[in-house]
Amino acid sequence: MDSVGNIVLYFVVAISMLVFSVMAVTSRKILRSATYLLFVLISTALFYFQLGYQFLGAVQIAVYAGGIMVLFIFSILLTHRPDDKSGKIESHRRIAGICASVLGAALLLGALFTMPVGAAGCSLTDVLAAGNCIDMQTIGHTLLGTDKFHYLLPFEAVSVLLLACIIGGVVVARKR
């Protein structure tokens, strides 16, 4: 049995997430679309906080809602006038999109509701009490450790990838 506060928070976050993701893909002004994406990302971070992953929620807000959104807004302001509107969607394209998304969602929801939930159907309070919440120390040791189930090698690989991506971004976007 979950507390009323948790359930109310869940509904507020879930509804804002769905509304803003619909608005992000249907809004005709691209800057608004990016702003709605920002709200979706923040709602996801709130879900992470509710599930007990504080560090992950903070990373989501700092990297996604901070870094990636600034990139988006920069590129939108570089390539569009602020009052630009995208053209109307052609009807065959709209039908194709609705078919793809509705059929996909129906398939996934059908699979979800027929799967045996079992112990995973228990309440959030139970899960948070049973699985002791992960503290920062454990996360640090796991990310930078070299034992089994530790992640130093992927961590370094990601840092090399980010370096390559910085150089690549400069090379691709520079003026010739």
Binding site: A34, V40, L56, Y64, S86, I89, T142, G169, A173
Partner: protein
């Protein structure tokens, strides 16, 4: 009322469907990238929910999501560099206008 695993998977499915709709219908490159981020975010939410409900004592899903966020940042930076380059060559970012490659 219990918040089980399905309560987190269903919003994720619907967010993914929104992303698919935007990916198919939008014609602006940046708008397509925004839809892509929606889909990626839905997948991340799935990893975290499965980690919390099925293996609550472990942290593999969380670590996977951390790396996915880092790679999403790299991917977005490169995509935006390409979009700016396309804008410089063609003058807009509409996918109907992009018809020829250099070679």
């Amino acid at each position: 009322m219990d918040l089980g695993i399905l309560w987190y998977l269903v919003p994720s499915v619907l967010m993914f469907a929104c992303g698919v709709y935007g990916f198919v219908t939008r014609k602006n490159l940046i708008a397509i990238l925004i839809s892509l981020e929606l889909m990626l975010n839905a997948a991340d939410l799935n990893f975290v929910a499965f980690n919390r409900y099925i293996f609550p004592g472990q942290m593999e899903g969380m670590i996977f999501t951390l790396f996915a966020i880092a790679i999403a940042a790299a991917e977005t930076a490169i995509a935006i560099a390409i979009i700016i380059n396309v804008y410089r060559a063609i003058g807009n970012t509409d996918i109907n206008e992009i018809k020829k490659l250099k070679f």
